[in-house]
């Protein structure tokens, strides 16, 4: 009985923490693309946290708070009623053409990551045109040891890499090589 009580207590103590748990090794990824358009033109398209329509996987963006710190948005993917990703803006610098946000809620079956944060930055290239950089830091989808293959570190890197590549490919198409 003593052991049962201890077990239950342990379980109850652990329960609220599960949502915050994560794997042992944070992953990072940086993808970038150089485009012909000027930084101002690129920033005009991707600099609005409340509009991610430039990304081909995003069907709609609904949020509040504009581009102020703590602004939120919910991305609906693919189609009306599709899977969603909830995000919050935690840094925004229009002068530096850079902002940072993190995911507050996503199903690991949609994007197999936890504790995900991301940064998007536009800089001027010396020879004209713009450099667009998209960076992410995140843990894999499976919070415990010995993850299944679909929720391991490699799966997380592959999934985020695919999202970034699709977005940057679309920007390259829009703004020219």
């Amino acid at each position: 009985m003593r052991y049962l009580g201890r077990f239950l207590l342990t379980f109850l103590l652990i329960l609220p923490a599960l949502a915050e748990a994560h794997g042992p090794t944070r992953q990072k990824l940086t993808l970038s693309v150089d485009v012909a358009a000027a930084p101002d033109a690129v920033w005009a398209v991707i600099g609005n946290f409340q509009d991610m329509s430039w990304h081909p996987a995003v069907f709609s963006t609904a949020g509040k708070g504009g581009n102020a710190v703590d602004a939120t948005r919910v991305l609906t993917l693919e189609e009306a009623g599709g899977p969603t990703i909830s995000e919050v803006l935690y840094k925004y610098d229009a002068a530096k053409m850079s902002y940072s946000y993190r995911i507050t809620e996503v199903d690991v079956n949609v994007l197999p990551v936890t504790n995900y944060s991301s940064h998007l930055t536009v800089t001027a290239n010396a020879g004209g045109g713009s450099h667009i950089e998209w960076k992410g830091a995140f843990y894999r989808g499976y919070p415990n040891n010995d993850p299944p293959a679909n929720l391991n570190d490699e799966a997380a890197l592959a999934a985020v890499g695919a999202v970034y590549k699709a977005g940057l490919d679309a920007l390259e198409k829009k703004f020219g090589k």
Binding site: T10, L13, I14, A17, E20, A21, P24, T25, R26, Q27, K28, Y90, K91, S100, R102, S117, K135, A137, N144, N145
Partner: protein
């Protein structure tokens, strides 16, 4: 350089002398031993010359690190390989390694008693391991998800940051009995004793640092930080906190806990430690693959050093040369 301890063995003395000859002006400097989690290696950085002088393979994505100059040793923990390793100092090939169960992550050393402590993130416990030979001596129960570990400078207390229990556990370092469980801020991660013996936790979830009296178990106060405080270090009567999501270090007065300044660092600053002379603060920038070196008095950035990929440096990672620390 201060006089060598009589316990220093002659082989280590010889190594120091040889290193001094090989690296003029560098061998008596503090070194940083930086665990690079993404590239699975250890950067050895000469902090006087501000240059990486060695890169040692540490398989299994190392995070935790603890220097032990009195033992002439550096300990690392690789969570993916579940491996604790002991290296000589200056570091070369590992002299001992030991596979553990669960999710080992943080490490601290009791140099006086020859004990190494490793936190098990997944199983709410701390392994107590012999510094020589790495045999497990006993296991201590903690709260959920223990991460950072710290030993007080006088050797009286061992503390663990039990992240998912929002508490620190404080043990008598001699008897290894639990003395206090203290509720701090949300999700404490890094843990450090100040020079005057108070315990400080960096509370990732509440953007605070909590000060605790280890003897009474009382919370003494809080410091407000920027986003995602990760770990704390002390120098020049000030506390320095890495803000992981803010690319900065918050500086506070160690006595009054009042905010003093915020210093920009590289991206995702994590591990932080002070030089032995207390004049510099060294920060590992996980995303930028660099160390930022800060003058603790002027709060100016005095150097930046390139490391391997994904420097965590989670623990005490700055050391005097072996066996010269008093």
């Amino acid at each position: 350089m201060r006089s060598k301890r009589s316990s220093a063995n002659s082989r280590i003395k010889l190594a120091v002398v040889l290193a001094a000859l090989a690296l003029p002006g560098g061998a008596l400097a503090d070194y940083a031993y930086v665990t690079n989690q993404s590239s699975s290696d250890l950067s050895v950085v000469d902090l006087d010359r501000m240059v990486e002088v060695g890169r040692i393979a540490v398989p299994g994505q190392p995070a935790g690190v603890a220097v032990a100059p009195r033992l002439g040793a550096v300990f690392t923990v690789s969570p993916d390989a579940k491996m604790l390793r002991r290296f000589g100092m200056p570091a070369g090939a590992p002299v001992a390694e030991r596979k553990l169960d669960g999710g080992p992550i943080g490490v601290a050393v009791d140099e006086r008693r020859g004990r190494v402590f490793v936190s098990d993130w997944y199983n709410a416990r701390v392994f107590v391991i012999a510094a020589d030979g790495l045999a497990t001596l006993t296991v201590l129960a903690t709260g959920s998800a223990p991460a950072g570990l710290a030993l007080s400078r006088d050797g009286r207390w061992l503390a663990t940051a039990d992240r998912d229990a929002n508490q620190v556990s404080i043990f008598d370092a001699e008897t290894l009995t639990l003395r206090h469980r203290v509720t701090v801020g949300l999700r404490p991660f890094g843990l450090t004793f100040s020079p005057d013996g108070r315990l400080f936790s960096a509370d990732v979830g509440s953007n605070t640092v909590t000060a605790v009296d280890p003897a009474s178990g009382r919370v003494l106060g809080h410091v407000t930080t920027r986003d995602r405080p990760y770990a704390v270090a002390f120098a020049s009567g000030r506390g320095f906190v890495t803000n992981q999501y803010d690319d900065s270090v918050s500086v506070f007065d160690a006595r009054s806990l009042a905010a003093i300044a915020v210093i920009d660092t590289g991206e995702y600053p994590e591990g932080i430690d002070a030089s032995a002379d207390g004049r510099r603060i060294i920060v590992a920038n996980w995303f930028s693959n660099s160390l930022t070196v800060i003058d603790a008095e002027s709060l100016e950035i005095v150097g930046e050093v390139t490391t391997g990929d994904g420097p965590r440096a989670f623990g005490r990672f700055v050391s005097t040369p072996p066996a010269t620390r008093q």
